[in-house]
Amino acid sequence: MIRLERRPAPSRTWTYLAPLLAVLATMIAGAIMFALLGKDPVLAIRTIFWDPIFSAQFGAYSRPQLLIKAGPLILIAIGLSLGFRAGIWNIGAEGQYIMGALAGASVALAVYPMELPVLLPLMVIAGALGGWAWAMIPGVLRTMFNTNEILVSLLLVYVAEQILSAAAVGFLRNPEGGGFPGSRNLQSYASAHNAEIIAGSGLHWGVVAAFISVIAAYVLLQRHILGFHIKLAGEAPRAAKLAGVVPARLVLFCLGVSGALAGMAGLFEVAGPAGKISIDFGAGYGFTAIIVAFLGRLHPAGILLAGLLMALTYIGGELAQLMLGLPAAAIQAFQGMLLFFLLAFDVFGHYRLRIATGRTA
C-alpha cells in the first residue's frame, strides 16, 4: 500500500528538485500530447526548448527576444514574491501593470513633442507611482476594512482594462492616427523611448531594472530586518506578532512594492517593445508572473531562472506553432502542465511517500 506521510519539516532537497522534475515531466507529457496530435514529439520539444537559443537560422534574433519577454515577468514576479512570502496575495499585478503604463505614457504624451533628457526617468517614476497607487486600493481596504486583497486586486484588473480601452480610444488616442484607437508611438519619440541599451541585444532599461530587482530582493530577504519580518509573517504569523511586526504596515509595504514594480514593468513595456497604449496592451504578463513567482520558489534567483524559462516556452511555443503547425491551445496546455507538475511534485516537499504492507497500517 502506498500512502503519504507528512514530513516534520518541508524537505529542502525537494524544494529545489521539484521545479527540475516539473520541467522534465512537462517535456515528457508534452511530447506525448504532441505525438497524439500527429507531430514529431522530439522535433516539437527541440523547437520549443532548443531552437530559440541555438538555432543558426534565427537564434540571433530570438535570444534577445527572450530577455524582452522575460524582463517584465521577472520584475513583476519579484514584487509579487515578497507579498506571497508574507501571505499577502496580490493577484492584480496585471491591473497595476496597465495603470503604470498609462501613468508613464500620460507623462510623455502630455509634454509631446518636447525633447527632455529627464523624460524617461520621470516616466519611470510616474509608472511606479501608477502601479503603486492601484495596489494601494486593495492595501488600504484590507488594512482599514479587512477586505480580501485577493478579490479586490483581481477585480481591479478589469477596472484597469476598462480605463485602458477608454485611454486608447479617448484621452490618449493619437490625434494623427486616422481615428484608430491607440496612442502615439513612443518609439518614435526619442526622449520617451526606452530603447535597447546595446542595439540588437534585447537589453532595455526594463531588463536592467529586472536584474536590479532580483539583487535588491535577495539583499532584502537575506540581510534586512524587513525581509526577516516578511518571511516570519508568512511562516509563523504569531511569532511575527511577538517580534513586533505590524501587519498593516507589512501589507501596505508588500502591496506597494509589488504594485510599483508591476507599474514600472508596464511603463518599460509601453515605452519600449510595445511602443504605444493600445486596447489590448495588457497581454497577461501580470498573471503569468504569478506562475513565474511560484515556479521560482519565491526566491529571487529562482524567479530569474523561471522568468527566462517561461519566456523560452512562449517564444519556442510560437515557433512550434508556425513551424510545425501546432495549435495555440496545445502550447497553452503545455505551459499549463508546467504549473500542474510543479504543484504535483511540491507534494513531495511536504509529504514522504511510504510503501507499507497492510498490517503495519
Binding site: 480601452s165 484607437p181 511602443g275
Partner: protein, 343 residues
C-alpha cells in the same frame, strides 16, 4: 516557363498568416483562416501555410512576423488593424518579403494594405432594417469606435432613413469584437427598449440566438449564419477574403506582386450579401436588391449627398460623393444618429 513551373513545384511559396483571435472564433479570424485554407485547396503543394493564432497586437505580433520572415516566409498576411505599426517595422527589415496588412492605412514598397467596403453591405442591411422595423427603432451593436465601425453605423442609418423617415437608431458600444455573453445581454436590452431590428458589428451568433428566443430581426455578420434563417436572420454580410488571397499569392508566384491599397466591396466579392430570407416581403427584397445592384454597377454610392454631420453642419452637398480619405478616417455620425461616439 516550364523551368519556372518546375522550380515552383520544388520550392513552394511560403505564406504566413497572423490572426488576432483563435481560428475558431466563428467570426473575423476564422474567416481569414478559412480563406487561407482555400489557398491550400487552390494551389495544392505550391503553397506552404504558416499560421499563428491569438497573437496580441503589440510586440508579440512583431516577433511572430519577424520569425515568419526569418523562417522563409515569402508573403505574410497580418489580419488585424492593430498590427499596422508592427508590419511597418518588420517590412522595413525584410525588403524581400511581401507584407499585406488588413484594414489599415499605411503601406510601403513591400507592404500593401487591403480592406473591404463593408459599408456597402451595411447600406443593403440598413435598407432592409428600415423597411422591416415596426417600432421604427433599430439597434446597432458596435464594437470599437474606429472609422470602420462608425462608417457601418452611418451607412446603416442613412439607408434605413431613406426608406423610413421616422426611423431611430440606438447604438450600444461593447468594446469587444467577440463576446457572446455581452452581445446577448446587449441584444436583450435593446429588445426591451422596443428595438425590433438589430444590426451587429460583433462577430458571434449570440445576437441572433437571443432574437430567436425573444423576437426581433437580425443579420448574419462576417458569416452567413444561415442556420438562423428565415427568422430572425434576414440576410447577412459575409467576409470573403479568399479571392484576394489567391490573387496576391498568385502574384508572388508569378513575380508580379506590387504594393497596393486595395479597398474592395460587393462588386469584387470581398463583401458578400447573404440570401434574402423568406421573412422579407417581396417589396423589401426588391428594394434591397435595387440598392445592391446600384452599388455593384457603380451608379450608386452609399455616401452620396445631401448629407449633414450629426451637429447639423453640412458634409456632402447634393449629389456629392464622399472621398475615400474621409471615409477611411470617419470619426463623426451623420445627422439623425443619436448619442455620442465614445471618447
Amino acid at each position: 516557363m516550364a523551368a519556372a513551373t518546375g522550380a515552383l513545384a520544388a520550392d513552394p511559396v511560403k505564406v504566413g498568416f497572423v490572426y488576432v483571435g483563435p481560428v475558431n472564433d466563428g467570426g473575423w479570424s476564422q474567416h481569414h483562416h478559412e480563406a487561407a485554407m482555400t489557398l491550400k485547396e487552390h494551389f495544392g503543394d505550391q503553397v506552404e501555410l504558416i499560421e499563428q493564432e491569438s497573437v496580441p497586437e503589440g510586440p508579440d505580433a512583431e516577433r511572430v512576423m519577424t520569425q515568419m520572415a526569418l523562417t522563409g516566409a515569402d508573403i505574410v498576411f497580418a489580419t488585424s488593424f492593430g498590427y499596422m505599426d508592427q508590419v511597418e517595422s518588420v517590412a522595413a527589415k525584410f525588403p524581400n518579403v511581401k507584407f499585406e496588412h488588413a484594414t489599415g492605412f499605411k503601406s510601403g514598397p513591400n507592404f500593401a494594405n487591403y480592406s473591404a467596403r463593408f459599408y456597402e453591405g451595411r447600406a443593403v442591411m440598413g435598407t432592409i432594417a428600415g423597411m422591416m422595423t415596426e417600432s421604427n427603432k433599430i439597434g446597432y451593436l458596435a464594437s470599437f469606435p474606429i472609422p470602420e465601425v462608425i462608417r457601418g453605423i452611418n451607412s446603416s442609418f442613412i439607408h434605413a432613413q431613406k426608406v423610413n423617415p421616422d426611423v431611430e437608431i440606438r447604438v450600444v458600444w461593447l468594446n469587444t469584437w467577440y463576446d457572446p455573453a455581452k452581445e446577448a445581454d446587449a441584444t436583450q436590452a435593446l429588445l426591451e427598449q422596443g428595438v425590433d431590428v438589430i444590426l451587429a458589428h460583433t462577430d458571434s451568433t449570440a445576437p441572433l440566438a437571443t432574437m430567436e428566443k425573444s423576437g426581433g430581426y437580425g443579420f448574419g455578420q462576417a458569416a452567413d449564419m444561415a442556420q438562423y434563417a428565415p427568422e430572425p436572420r434576414l440576410s447577412s454580410i459575409i467576409d470573403d477574403w479568399a479571392p484576394y488571397y489567391e490573387e496576391r499569392v498568385q502574384a508572388v508566384m508569378d513575380g508580379t506582386w506590387e504594393t497596393a491599397a486595395t479597398w474592395s466591396g460587393i462588386k469584387d466579392g470581398m463583401v458578400g450579401i447573404g440570401d434574402f430570407s423568406d421573412a422579407m416581403p417581396d417589396e423589401v427584397k426588391a428594394k434591397a436588391q435595387e440598392v445592391m445592384d446600384g452599388i455593384v454597377d457603380g451608379s450608386y454610392h452609399p455616401f452620396t449627398g445631401p448629407l449633414n454631420k450629426q451637429d447639423g453642419t453640412p458634409w456632402l452637398a447634393e449629389g456629392e460623393i464622399a472621398d475615400d480619405g474621409t471615409l477611411a478616417g470617419m470619426d463623426f455620425y451623420v445627422e439623425g444618429v443619436t448619442g455620442d461616439i465614445p471618447n
